[in-house]
């Protein structure tokens, strides 16, 4: 189904009224959720063009998050690789340390404008939980975060952070005790408490309109890169690279560039112990289309359609599905999806820490690992923008433990 370059330049890249991106997306949910999703769809359509809402969103991004985030030239690393010039979009400098805050501010404002006093969220690495708890505290909303019991163990600093911010963290013991189970649990809460509760989803997955609205709130990243790249190096980048868990930081960077067909786009999935093993979290690289958590998309399942247990060194990428828009971009040939293994990500984690003085999140380290390969294959007058989706403070315990170092 790959489209021609001319077609890619003129597509509008918007979902249809049912929230489908081509074959993907939609609303594969139980009837009990349909009314809530329709209501959300209506209120989002209205608020999207509401100047008060947009003004409050923009003001918060500037004064609470610290936007615009810089576009930084990773000069020493570029020289060391001796290929393309590498730039980092510094989402790691945002308040709470990752891109997730862009989207949670947008959704929490939707909650506020729709008069819902309680918000819930699911979280894997804990970044989205922290971002949700942060915004809830600021807006005076009650906040409950669902988190897989296994993730609670491997991301304990973020669990404590959420509690400091006044949120309730609920451990999820069902299934594989990770992000996918937390997402199911949050949906259950939402079905039960739909009258007073807003579900702040953490990525561009889930039923429509979530993939679209989460994308729109994160698209500020790509819009900034558009003017920053013109200002700093006089043209659009030759390539964009971002890690893909559910795909929110990636689509935030990619979306404003989709019609600029000369800009190559790479999404990097977690290849875990290798794409040829079963221990990875790379549905676009080696999964197939199916239906999970309310959307048709690429996912990882066994022959019998049971969702697979995934593996990644980074909790934030450890999810068997992916946002439906990425599935669409893959099929039409607008974006390329590749993998980076645990080992490659860890190497990039250390390298960028030491060469650039920036400790990246383990999720981001996957994007960095691929950026390095890509840069090496390009000329020095070419540029790559890699989304530095988050900082690595939350991961130092994980990395230390893997390397046999005790921090306590």
């Amino acid at each position: 189904m790959a489209l021609t370059e001319q077609e890619l330049r003129t597509l509008d890249y918007e979902p249809d009224t049912g929230g489908h991106f081509g074959d993907y997306g939609g609303r594969y949910v139980s009837e009990t959720l349909m009314a809530a999703l329709n209501e959300l769809d209506q209120s989002y359509k209205k608020l999207k063009n509401d100047p008060d809402f947009q003004c409050e969103f923009d003001t918060d991004l500037a004064s609470f998050v610290g936007r615009p985030s810089p576009l930084y030239h990773a000069d020493r690393w570029s020289k060391a690789i001796s290929g393309a010039q590498i730039y980092f979009k510094r989402e790691d400098l945002n308040h709470t340390g990752a891109h997730k805050i862009n989207n949670t501010i947008g959704q929490a404002l939707l909650a506020k404008y729709s008069g819902k006093p309680r918000v819930i969220a699911e979280t894997g690495a804990g970044q989205h939980g922290v971002a949700s708890a942060t915004v809830a505290a600021r807006l005076g909303l009650e906040c409950v975060v669902y988190m897989g019991a296994e993730d609670i163990e491997r991301q304990s600093p973020n669990v404590y952070r959420m509690k400091l911010l006044g949120a309730t963290v609920v451990p999820v013991e069902s299934g594989s005790r990770t992000l996918k189970d937390a997402l199911s649990e949050a949906m259950r809460d939402w079905v039960t408490n739909v009258d007073d509760t807003f579900y702040i989803i953490g990525t561009v997955a889930g039923p429509a309109p979530y993939p679209q609205l989460v994308r729109d709130f994160n698209a500020v990243v790509g819009r900034e890169v558009k003017w920053q790249s013109k200002e700093i190096f006089g043209k659009y980048p030759d390539a964009l690279v971002a890690c893909v868990g559910g795909g929110s930081n990636a689509i935030g960077l990619f979306y404003p560039f989709l019609r600029e067909a000369e800009v190559a786009i790479y999404g990097v999935e977690a290849a875990g112990r290798g794409l040829s093993t079963n221990e990875h979290a790379a549905p676009l690289c080696s999964g197939r289309p199916g239906v999970l958590h309310g959307a048709k998309t690429y996912l990882m399942d066994n022959n019998d359609g049971q969702i697979a247990h995934t593996h990644s060194v980074s909790a934030g990428l450890d999810y068997p599905g992916v946002g439906p828009e990425h599935a669409y971009l893959k099929d039409i040939g607008r974006a390329n999806y590749v993998g980076a293994t645990d080992e490659e990500a860890l190497a990039a984690f250390h390298e960028v820490s030491q060469v650039e003085g920036i400790i990246p999140a383990l999720e981001t380290a996957h994007a960095l690992a691929y950026t390095k390969k890509l840069a090496a294959s390009m000329r020095s007058d070419q540029t790559i923008v890699c989304n530095m989706s988050g900082r690595g403070d939350k991961d130092i315990f994980t990395v230390a433990k893997m390397e046999g170092i005790s921090l306590t």
Binding site: G18, G26, R27, Y28, V29, S30, E31, T32, M34, A35, A36, N38, S174, G175, K180, D181, L183, S184, M187, R188, V191, T192, N193, V194, D195, P289, G290, V291, L292, H293, G294, K296, L299, D301, N303, D304, G305, Q306, I307
Partner: protein, 271 residues
Amino acid sequence: MSYTRIQQRMEVLKTSGRKALIPYIVAGDPALTVTVPAMHAIVEAGADIIELGMPFSDPFADGPVNQRGAERAINSGTTLADVLKAVSEFRNDDCDTPIVLMGYLNPVIAMGEAIFCEAAAAAGVDGLLIVDMPPEEEGALVQSAKMAGLDLIYLAAPTTTDERLQIIGKATSGYLYYVSLKGITGSSKLDTASVSKRVVHMRQHVTVPICVGFGIRTAQDAAAISSTADGSIVGTVLVSQVEELVDQPEKIPSALKAILEPMRQAMDANG
């Protein structure tokens, strides 16, 4: 078009002034060997239709009890092909009781919608209820189900608008499954009076029989619900019972029967 087994059963119930008792169990919970004897016991207790769960790893519309049931079934190695095998084995001794397979879409997609529907019909399945497929998303499965002569049963909820009720009313065949409360299976806040009001209201938009599930635990619940609805669907109490007896699976069929018999009696005493 000829009547399906579900439609026939609903007609018979209607002319005799009785209501449908529709138990739900998960195929393969805790092991496939229990499933067929359990189905026969359920029929002996007076069930009119059996809803047989196709286990799925991520059943986000179900509560913890049903999720654990699905996990037990998957852990015991139950595949979708096994579920169909259980149905055809059941059909060796029972050609009358309609069977509805209930589950999620992904395992069906994995088998292939057309292959699945043909195999299901051949095994003796009568209807499908796919929890995460609202009428808006109907695709290959709907075509294949129609070709195979399977009823497609859709859900309605307390939050369903009249506009959507009309769409659902047109799409659903066999019966409409009304989810009695805002929540997941196994919730405990059943309000029979408001359910009755809703059922009466829904009849303006829906011509097929309306059966009610989620939250029915006791014989009184079943009787109260079916005083207005056309049937009571009973799931979580049965799956809980199975859970209690995982270590003595031979006792499961009679234990399920013991739960359902008083429900049958209470429902029949209504009339």
